[in-house]
């Protein structure tokens, strides 16, 4: 492959196929690579891309949908900086540019036969949504699947329609909680009040042979990790997807080091046992 077609170096054009507003500042985008017969876009859940909006620049965004979605892919983007601000002004069929995918993703092959506990806080639902749909696509390969999802308030819960559907499935468990709100019914969804660690304590699930995948803000990790270990999930089986500002995505720019690991090329998914003892990791 010549440099000019190397998708890790030169961004390729992608068309916005769909945009769905999720909350006031967050939307789900569905993109398709142009000329995609040549560049079949495949990835592992947990990987990320670098999204370019011309004149704005580039930002790392996690892949939020299942892989091989007819060669398109989904991104759940919150408007928090100047590039994402520019993205939020675009509509189908506008164009953006994409490099990637980058990073390792979740090691699904190692999880065969295990129970899987997914814990998402806030926008951390994005990579775990990709993971969840991939697990459900290969449902028979795994044991119990549980998703616990916490948001600040009911209006900040992302993917509400999908959560309603998921809550009706008999082959997985879904628990929702919000930090601040009265317990209320939410369009067919039952939602608890309180923080995720409290929810975790109150829910019965089998922790034997269970793998936990966690993604959320740093504050979530701090209180949740001890709790998970107390419930019997060892640090080697707790997987975290870390956030850093990866500028290059290929282990060069040196912005995203965690100890001697790079979040972009060694991660962004790490076992908690890899991160223990690294100051500033979480």
């Amino acid at each position: 492959m010549s440099d000019s077609r190397d998708m890790t170096i030169v961004p390729l054009p992608a068309t916005i196929m769909g945009r769905k507003a999720m909350t006031a500042d967050t939307a789900l985008y569905r993109l398709i690579l142009e000329n995609s017969e040549k560049d079949r876009f495949d990835f592992n859940p947990g990987q990320f891309i670098q999204l370019s909006v011309p004149s704005g620049g580039e930002v790392p965004i996690t892949l939020a949908g299942p892989p091989l979605l007819q060669n398109s892919f989904e991104l759940c983007v919150r408007r928090v900086g100047h590039v994402t601000e520019m993205l939020h002004h675009l509509l189908p069929p506008d164009r953006v540019w994409v490099r990637g995918p980058f990073g390792n993703g979740f090691p699904l092959r190692e999880w065969t036969g295990r129970n899987i506990l997914l814990i998402a806080g806030g926008l951390g639902i994005a990579p775990l949504r990709s993971l969840l749909y991939t697990l459900l696509m290969h449902r028979g390969d795994f044991g119990e699947i549980t998703l616990m999802y916490g948001a600040r308030e009911t209006s900040a819960i992302l993917f509400k329609d999908e959560l309603v559907e998921l809550s009706g499935r008999r082959d997985m468990h879904l628990f929702l909680t919000v930090d601040f709100a009265k317990e209320e019914s939410l369009g067919g969804l039952t939602c608890n009040t309180g923080l995720l660690p409290t929810l975790l304590k109150g829910v019965n699930f089998s922790s034997t042979g269970t793998v936990a995948a966690v993604c959320g803000p740093p504050a979530l990790y701090k209180c949740l990790l001890e709790e998970l270990q107390e419930l019997g999930i060892p640090a080697e089986l707790i997987y975290l997807s870390l956030e850093r500002r990866m500028k290059c995505g290929i282990g060069l720019c040196c912005h995203c080091a965690v100890g001697d690991l790079f979040c972009c090329s060694d991660g962004p998914v790490f076992r908690y046992s890899q991160l223990k003892g690294i100051s500033g990791a979480i």
Binding site: S52, S55, G56, G57, G251, S279
Partner: protein, 329 residues
């Protein structure tokens, strides 16, 4: 006896012949009194006896601001045409050669950076022996003298003994033969430094000095000016910025020198900062310099040039960490 001796009175002929191989650059004393790598030419004196330049030669491979991509609506993003002129960099000390060898590992290792490679391929390195001053702590020089450059000039009482290490160096040496005198080939210089040995051992044990009280002292003094990284021959971390043109359509993406001592280095979207305080940023720099991460994991990238110790406006010296350990013994 071989013809490898460049006598002092042949230096101008030497430079004239070198200039036929490419644009000549070397250390000069600038009008503002700074030692710097600059283009050489008539009336500009090459310094063959100098301590160190302020800015290391990394600027030839990684310019402070470098256009990596251009955007136009009908063309998308494309890389700049890489037309790099042949450049001969003469008068590099072994520490700077070692710095370039390290950058080669980072940018031309498993993953090749096309811009870096274009510049590196067009660069001929001519090394020069040196005498350490009180700021230097470089390690054994023989490796860089024999592998790290195309041609090496070792000072002797009669002039400079030249040694070629690469086919390019050999071709240049051959072209210089008419102006060279006969001299004994000298064995590669070997110099040992206790400080460098101490650093290597500490790195091998993965020493982070996590408990040291010096971190707090450093953080209290540091002005976050970033001079230590800027003048470091192996600090290469970069930011990527995009600049839209006034026509509102085209844009240019630049790779710019960044600095891990700056506050925004560890910041993520929304303002959360993983290295909010100076101590965390210092420790990040230490990790990169002495322990490495990613593809450079396990490689000490401090080459002992002493620049950071010279330029720090408040006299911070990371070597005190290593000295503290030594003192405890």
């Amino acid at each position: 006896m071989t013809r490898n001796l460049l006598k002092h009175d042949s230096i101008s002929d030497f430079l004239e012949i070198l200039a036929t191989w490419g644009k000549l650059h070397g250390p000069v004393l600038t009008d503002d009194g700074v030692t710097a790598f600059r283009p050489l030419g008539p009336g500009i004196d090459l310094l063959l006896d100098y301590n160190r330049t302020l800015v290391p030669p990394k600027k030839y491979l990684l310019p402070p601001r470098d256009a990596v991509l251009f955007f136009a609506p009908n063309e998308g993003y494309r890389q700049p045409a890489a037309a790099v002129p042949e450049t001969i960099l003469v008068g590099l000390h072994p520490c700077d050669l070692q710095g370039i060898a390290y950058l080669d590992k980072a940018f031309m290792g498993d993953r090749i950076d096309p811009l870096y490679r274009a510049r590196r391929t067009a660069l001929t390195l001519i090394g020069l022996s040196c005498e350490p001053d009180e700021y230097c702590f470089c390690d054994d020089l023989s490796v860089t003298e024999t592998h790290g450059c195309d041609l090496f000039m070792r000072r002797s009482p009669d002039g400079f003994h030249l040694r070629s290490n690469t086919p390019k160096g050999k071709a240049i040496l051959d072209s210089l033969t008419p102006i060279l005198a006969e001299g004994e080939p000298l064995p590669a210089d070997s110099r040992t430094c206790d400080m460098a040995a101490e650093i290597r051992q500490a790195s091998d044990r993965g020493e982070t000095f996590g408990e040291s009280e010096l971190w707090g002292e450093f953080a209290g003094l540091c002005l976050s000016c970033g001079a230590c990284s800027l003048c470091c021959p192996t600090c290469y971390c970069f930011d990527i910025r995009e600049y839209g043109a006034l026509n509102g359509e085209t844009a240019m993406r630049l790779r710019e020198w960044d600095n891990c001592l700056f506050k925004d280095h560890g910041e993520v979207a929304g303002g959360f900062n993983f290295r909010k305080n100076r101590q965390e940023r210092f420790q990040y720099r230490f990790q990169h310099k002495y322990l490495g991460f990613g593809p450079t994991r396990g490689i000490v990238s401090c080459v002992g040039c002493g620049r950071c110790r010279v330029v720090c406006p408040v006299g911070i010296d990371l070597l005190e960490l290593f000295k503290e350990i030594e003192d405890e013994r």
